[in-house]
């Protein structure tokens, strides 16, 4: 199943985001070995050079590291994973608040609406 990529943004950026998400969500655990570039490229249905570029970028940020001959691994630095997790969460919240604002809700209204929604959802999801 090819990865879900949108058509208007650079592919390598989207791969980076998907990999970050796979790491913080635990699909890849700290210290896990990543599949090879070719395997990942085939899975995602993207060009191997593009996959390579994305992995190199992840390596530069420290989220993955490579061992000379045995491939690429997920960092074991839990703090770093936590940090990325909160960055991603902040970004999601900012996007959400932005769209609430454009719907015309102010801070207080947004918070009370959220509380209300949480109440309604009780027992269902999260």
């Amino acid at each position: 199943m090819p990865w879900n990529l949108t058509s208007d943004r650079p592919i390598f950026l989207q791969i980076i985001e998907i990999m970050q998400l796979s790491i913080v969500s635990g699909k890849y655990a700290p210290g896990d070995k990543l599949p090879s570039v070719r395997e990942l490229a085939t899975e995602a249905a993207v060009n191997p050079n593009t996959m390579q570029k994305a992995l190199q970028e992840l390596e530069r940020s420290g989220l993955v590291y490579s061992k000379r001959t045995s491939g690429r691994f997920i960092t074991e630095d839990l703090n770093m994973i936590e940090e990325i997790k909160s960055t991603l969460a902040r970004e999601k919240i900012e996007t959400f608040l932005q769209s609430m604002k454009s719907l015309g809700f102010d801070r207080e209204e947004t918070i009370s609406l959220m509380k209300q929604t949480f109440e309604n959802m009780k027992g269902e999801t999260p």
């Binding site: 058509s7 208007d8 249905a45 993207v46 191997p48």
Partner: protein
Amino acid sequence: MSIILECKNLSKTYGSHTALNHINLSLESGHIIGLLGPNGSGKTTLIKLINGLLTPSEGTLSVNQAPIGPKSKSWVSYLPDHSYLESNLRVNEIIRYFKDFCLDFEEERAYDMLKKLQINPNDKLKSMSKGTKEKVQLILIMSRRAKLYVLDEPIAGVDPAARDYILETILSNYDEDAAILISTHLISDIENILDQVIFIKDGQIALNTSVDNIREKEGKSVDALFREVFKC
């Protein structure tokens, strides 16, 4: 990285009509390149020149430093837009042909892929659907260890699921020493597997860049840019 295809000042005219107009182009190994352009832009002319089916009116082209000839043909694996295979033949007979004609043909890989697609090697081509026939041809082409794969409209006749398989086949057979040149109209289906795109317009190269470059600079897909550049 080595240069797999080089065109210098390449032109092709048919009578008074200019199909290719002084093209300079070089393709490097390790890339999957999309050759994109509207009907009549010169794509197939270029492809036929690469395969020695046409001769240049002016300029030169070379494959892996060799002029077009028996040597270059042994390095180029070509999927034409029309089938040239005898439809009375069975798949395993065609495989035998390929083994005889192409020294770099790997029989095992062909049978592997056939098995994966549940195509019976004893079946005759004429008993197959259009899509299955196209798959068989692509399998034959990709089972060679070529330096340059030239695929003319490889996904035109197949359903979306088979399209995914074909792209997967291309990706998993991709070799860093080789280059793959794909000509197609179905840009959005293949743009993720390309890393380089060439827009060809009225026999000239209008654009030669990377997919992510287009997305970064233009904020749109190759498909969307194509529609803009070639708006009728």
